[in-house]
């Protein structure tokens, strides 16, 4: 909230935007969203990747013991499935919406539908609203059976902002 903090954030974001723009271009040329996901340390930490299969962008979280939230059931931690939904949502925006500005997440609501077994999780996103400023994405996550989702999320992203914006309050 301090002026210096704000200008740091400003500079950081500009650097981020430029980097992102380049990465998005490269990934699109290679038709490989995984290149973008690989640049997110937390995605690596959770074993999350993305790929295009039969023209569909899919997110995947590889099972590892560290993802467990309930060792008794056992079940994956809801927060890891939430992160997969969020990252897949972001990729869906980058893949379907023109422009290379960094989409900024406004909010998301995660619905937990079934307990997630200790195995891989897949996810796919759908753009449900594309406004000039706001994109709404619905994402579904499943394990073996696509028709039995373990969780879904509805997320809003802010898009279409210029790469470098003049500073300005409010």
């Amino acid at each position: 909230m301090s002026p210096s903090g704000a200008s740091d954030a400003e500079r950081d974001r500009d650097v981020t935007s430029t980097r992102w723009a380049q990465r998005v271009e490269e990934a699109r040329r290679a038709s490989d969203p995984g290149m973008l996901v690989a640049g997110i340390p937390y995605a690596r930490f959770l074993g999350i990747s993305a790929e295009v299969v039969d023209g569909e962008l899919l997110g995947r979280m590889r099972y590892a013991d560290r993802l467990v939230g309930n060792p008794v059931l056992p079940a994956l931690h809801g927060g890891t499935v939430g992160a997969l939904l969020e990252i897949t949502g972001l990729m869906t925006v980058l893949w379907n919406v023109d422009g290379t500005g960094v989409p900024r997440i406004i909010n998301l609501t995660i619905d937990y539908l079934r307990s997630a077994a200790t195995e891989d999780v897949l996810a796919q996103g759908f753009v449900t609203k594309q406004g000039r400023r706001v994109v709404n994405v619905f994402v579904r996550a499943w394990q073996r059976d696509r028709e039995k989702p373990v969780a879904s999320a509805n997320a809003h992203f802010l898009v279409g902002l210029p790469e470098i914006e003049g500073s300005g309050e409010e």
Binding site: A9, D12, P41, Y42, G79, G82, E86, L108, T109, S115
Partner: protein, 158 residues
Amino acid sequence: MTPAGDRTGPISEARPRLDVLRQICMEGIPLNRELAIELSDVWPGGGLMRLPYRGDLVGDPVNGVLAGGVITALLDGACGMAVMAALVRPAAVATLDLRIDYLRPATAGRDVIARAECYRLTRHVAFARALAYHDSPEDPVASAAGAFMLTRRHRKSS
């Protein structure tokens, strides 16, 4: 249409035991151990959790800001903990849904604290909310609202 939350129960007034909840929320949950999340304090119907900053949890290496998903995991865990801290009788707690509003990016290099409270407890459903912040819940980086299903195993299933 009648709201679900119509059988209000008392939130436990006994101070929950930090060591017991710590065992359930921390040692018992591999992800929390991996993230080094710490249960700092607990009181009837609420508590504080701290997520230490770490480079491998960031969303973008350029700016070093923690990934949104890390904060989601913290807020999810904190809301569940608050529900457990509110229960008078033990119950299985399952998250029905969780809404997260991202208010501003976390500051790179800084720990994030989540303050959660279970603000309504009914027989079958509990409601919790939480704020994630660095210094003060008055200046949050994210906020959460969740609904939780309670299942008591000792009751006959129907």
